[in-house]
Amino acid sequence: MEKQHDYQRLLNKYSIYLILAVMIVIAILTSEEFRTFDNIMNLLARMSIVGILAIGQTIILITGNFDLSHGSYIALSSVLIAIIIPLGNFATIGITFIIFIFLGMFNAFFVNRGVASMIVTLGMTGIARSAALFLSNSDAVNLPDGNFGMLAYGTITNIPYCVILWLFLILLFSFLLKYTRIGKNLYAVGGNKESARLSGVNVNRTIYVAFVISAICSLIAGAIYTSRLGVALPDKAVGYEMDSIAAAVIGGTSMKGGVGNLGETLVGVLIYGIITNFFNLIGINAYWQQVFKGLVIAIAVYVNIQKTISTDKRKVG
């Protein structure tokens, strides 16, 4: 009886990894194209955009907030990069970082004053999108000739730079979440804001940090996006915020705050990306893909919720 229980708990704990494993096995067995090294690297390179966004989103969700600005952030960052890059790489990195830190702080400023994060970041969607359209005259901005495409297409021992960057960011922010004071504060604020405040956590500063990290992650994702396309499109990249939220939540991040880690978010991103890739490879109609994708996500989220309900009797989604 006791053993049965342990087994059940273990299964629950790793259910999301099990789903990913089953999906990979099915994909490998049924599609010859899927199991090529090139396809997997391409897949990872494409998913690195949502993957890096999901890092920022996970951290925001841990504090119990949302960030809906990701899609517009990407549009703005790609336009900014295309405009500033003739000034030199360091100038580009410096200026865009300063702008995005400011945008993140803008979001956090209003969240700290009691406006729901959903509304604030929805407002930011409009601001960033308009700024992108304004700066580019509502037109595509070409990147000057250079090696900016290296970020997405350059490889080191056949592994794309953007994948390495993605994994590096996961390790960096995992370390931040697990072993530093600010990481613990992020969980504390998400778990219970009031008790975090009473135990001496600077809640406002923690929220600032979370939103700035999210903005920076969007900036980096936007750089990869621009590098992949080779052109900055101010009216594209719509809906990335939904992808990043979905990926984080599939990975078991609670939308009520206080629960989540980047390793499982990575699994969420992989599940999300592999579904699309697999459907494309076996040639399913794009419209059916949307339907199936929704169903797979529903199953993944449902299974993951069972875990949280059974382990600590909390409703998490």
């Binding site: 939308m255 929704g294 529903a298 989220v301 449902y302 919720i305 409703k315 989604g317």
Partner: protein, 149 residues
Amino acid sequence: MQEKQHVFRVSEWRMLIIFTIMVLVLSIASDGVFLKKSNIINLFAQNAIVGVITIGQFLVIVSGGIDLTVGSTVAITSIMYVLFQEMGLAFSIVLAVIIGILIGIINGLTVTKMKIIPFIATLITMGIVRGFAFLVVNGRVIYIIDIED
């Protein structure tokens, strides 16, 4: 203190004040065109869709949830309406309403039975419903035919 309700408190009238200021500024900035009858009618006509959706969204948000499916629901119900318009006005309207109710029930059940929080539940149905909307018309645009009556 008993006369509390007669005290003018800005917080209660905030939205009305903002609204009045907006109307004033817009009227002055547009030389009175803003207050013309045709413009007001246009304004209402343009916002009727969002206005109707907001009624439903209001109820969901008041109960502590959120409904992201509304856009996809508008898409599929309007497609259903246009697709079956030859069967008669009443039939296609009823069909569209039934589809809307079905989507609502699915959302409700995902939230209450599967315990998926509203944001994600409706995000999922949003994708599924949008997929079906494309499927029934195969991604094409369909047009309303003029019905002479």
